[in-house]
């Protein structure tokens, strides 16, 4: 088995404030994970705001350099401080999908211009017919077609269509890895499942691995193979998605699961959170702890 992406003991610190009031924020601490080439999967990173999940994704995309540790993609270290050719090659392999499709696209620029520049830049296509074929191929994969998209501006499409167009753009260079940062949180309820199902079919039919970043445990359970749960920069639990979410072990994971609003008891108005759980999860933030293996294959952070 060869590894596609290897994240080894990666940490990232940000320094905030001036000389006298300097504060160090540890956004990510000692994160490790790896994806294999042979087995495409949806790997989910779960966490609340401030948990470091977006920082981790930005490091995987090479937009941010880790303070320590190493990220390698197919054996090569990920960094934006490389030659242009090498950087372009990496970008063709790892493509991002952002949270808000209305912000990801310039409202004054037609959508097909984005698709076209991606095709010419990464696939080095110069012929009109080849470019159109590449664009149409990618749009077909997400259930759109070039005829529908050509000449249209972002405001002329719904949020769901636009997010699918964003995914189509990312698929043009046939990347083995997509990094999707909260791709459905800005999409309407009736269209949300079409995006989630699309990510699922990308994995199953096109063998694309997806790093899916979310705070929504229910969609994570629905589509992911493996997941990590992050609390303030630390991975607190990692393992098979079903094993972890069916029976979370770390207090923070248990709190997250308990906070998911279920529809099973609709109308009963059950909204109480156990304050003991919140306090217990909050206490653990300041303790480093260490990750240990469990017999069912998961890693859990234990303390003391």
């Amino acid at each position: 088995m060869s590894t596609l992406l290897e994240v080894k003991e990666v940490s990232k610190q940000f320094t905030m404030g001036g000389m006298l009031s300097r504060k160090i924020v540890r956004a990510v601490e000692g994160a490790s994970l790896s994806l294999s080439v042979e087995k495409p999967e949806i790997f989910t990173i779960i966490g609340e705001s401030g948990s470091g999940k977006t920082t981790l994704a930005r490091m995987i995309l090479g937009l941010e350099l880790p303070s320590s540790g190493e990220i390698s993609f197919r054996g090569k270290t990920v960094s934006h401080k490389v030659g242009r050719a090498e950087r372009l090659e990496f970008m063709a392999n790892v493509q991002p999908v952002f949270q808000n499709p209305f912000e990801a696209f310039n409202p004054l620029k037609r959508i097909d211009r984005y698709l076209e520049s991606t095709a010419t830049r990464f696939l080095k296509l110069r012929q009109r017919d080849d470019i159109d074929a590449a664009m149409d191929g990618a749009l077909q994969k997400v259930g759109l077609s070039l005829a529908e998209v050509r000449g249209r501006y972002p405001h002329e499409m719904s949020g769901g269509q636009l997010q699918r167009a964003a995914i189509a753009r990312a698929l043009i260079p046939n990347p083995p890895l997509l990094v999707a940062d909260e791709p459905v949180s800005m999409v309407d309820a009736s269209l949300r499942m079409s995006i989630v199902n699309l990510l699922k079919s990308l994995r199953d039919d096109l063998k694309v691995s997806v790093i899916y970043i979310t705070h929504d445990l229910a969609t994570a359970y629905y589509i992911s193979n493996r997941l990590i749960i992050m609390q303030r920069g630390r991975i607190v639990e990692m393992g098979d998605a079903r094993t972890v979410l069916d029976n979370p072990e770390h207090p923070y994971s248990r709190l997250l699961k308990a906070s998911v609003l279920s529809t099973e008891d609709a109308g009963d108005g059950k909204l109480a959170t156990d304050p003991g759980m919140v306090a217990l999860a909050g206490e653990l933030v300041s303790k480093p702890g260490r990750l240990v293996d469990r017999p069912d294959g998961r890693l859990v952070r234990v303390y003391g």
């Binding site: 609340e48 499942m193 359970y221 629905y222 709190l255 529809t263 609709a266 109308g267 108005g269």
Partner: protein, 342 residues
């Protein structure tokens, strides 16, 4: 004894624009009839551009051009007398604002003035409606903060010094400090994390029960509605398509759109394929004829394309606007089957 605090009758609010001689009419609210009872939480669900925000703008008496109420009425039955917000004068609206009719806004970061301390913002909001100053005013505000589990220090803080959850609690505090009879909450928890969201929702419910007021709770998140509301109304393309007690809406919906919203919710412990609804929400400037849901509806028949279905009673306290409401049941079977197994 249930009494209605709000009666909306055939309300139509359109955006009428005339740019460079081109007239455009957006029918954002197109004939909504509903009531909100005393002491209940009424949920309004709908996707973006379904007209739900325009609807609550009318309820909040914030009717500004280019929006205009074309037809119908929205009458509140407050303790100090009934008032129709569609025809009331600015003075009348001023007399009910915050004291009787209040509003919890969406983004707490953009609602609070970033260069004013929270205490000052409280004064701006509450001093006049409460008609109190000095010690009685201070006691009233501090007592209210305590109920919201906020420390008294927040009054000296600036908005950026507070966490997202605390800020949202401050906006809830501002909206409820005058003990209003009717509160409109517009997506108050959308920007919050799951753990904080649950806390804030619990708090709104607690405060509502404490004060005995009515709440109209707007969000597109059906799982929030499931846990928060007593009744839910679903708005699709400017019309109310279904309304009923929360439990019935989730376990026996009578409109295909509701059935889809419920069936597409993913749940922990269940990985069966969830259906996705094709198509896109219709444009309100040029909505489809007949039932506005028919281009996306799996049950659509020819009648749906031409005739608008009326909102009719289909069960106890439950109304649906669908020609084929009797056939909606099968759509939700997988959901119920799961429930039995679990």
């Amino acid at each position: 004894m249930t009494q209605d605090i709000l009666t909306v009758d055939g309300l139509k609010a359109y955006y009428q624009m005339n740019y460079f001689g081109v007239e455009r009419e957006v029918r954002a609210v197109d004939g909504i009839t509903m009531t909100v009872r005393k002491n209940e939480i009424y949920g309004i669900a709908g996707e973006s551009s379904s007209g739900k925000t325009s609807f609550i703008k009318v309820l909040a008496a914030a009717i500004r051009p280019p929006m205009r109420v074309v037809d119908g009425s929205a009458k509140f039955n407050f303790k100090n007398g009934p008032i129709d917000v569609t025809t009331a004068t600015p003075q009348q609206i001023e007399s009910i604002r915050w004291r009787h009719l209040s509003y919890i806004m969406q983004g707490s970061m953009s609602t609070l003035n970033p260069v004013r301390r929270i205490g000052k913002t409280f004064e701006d909001f509450a001093k006049r409606p409460l008609a109190a100053s000095g010690t009685p005013y201070r006691e009233r505000v501090l007592g209210h903060l305590e109920r919201l589990k906020l420390p008294a220090d927040v009054l000296n803080a600036y908005p950026h010094e507070l966490s997202g959850g605390m800020r949202q609690r401050v906006t809830i505090g501002l909206a409820t400090v005058c003990h209003p009879e009717f509160v409109i909450a517009d997506e108050p928890t959308t920007a919050l994390d799951v753990v904080v969201q649950k806390e804030v929702l619990g708090l709104i419910r607690e405060i509502q029960q404490d004060m005995g007021s009515s709440v109209v709770f707007v969000t597109h998140d059906m799982s929030v509605h499931a846990n928060m509301t007593d009744r839910v109304g679903i708005i699709y393309a400017g019309r109310l398509v279904e309304e009923g007690p929360t439990r019935q809406m989730f376990f026996a919906p009578k409109h295909p759109y509701t059935a889809h919203l419920v069936a597409s919710l993913p749940r922990i412990g269940d990985t069966t394929q969830r259906p996705a609804l094709e198509g896109r929400p219709p444009s309100l400037a040029n909505p489809p004829a007949g039932c506005r849901f028919h281009p996306r509806c799996p049950l659509a028949i020819d009648k749906c394309k031409t005739e608008v279905p009326p909102l009719i009673p289909v069960a106890n306290d439950h109304r649906s606007a669908c020609w084929r409401w009797q056939d909606v049941g099968p759509l939700v079977k997988p959901h119920q089957a799961n429930r039995v197994m679990a």
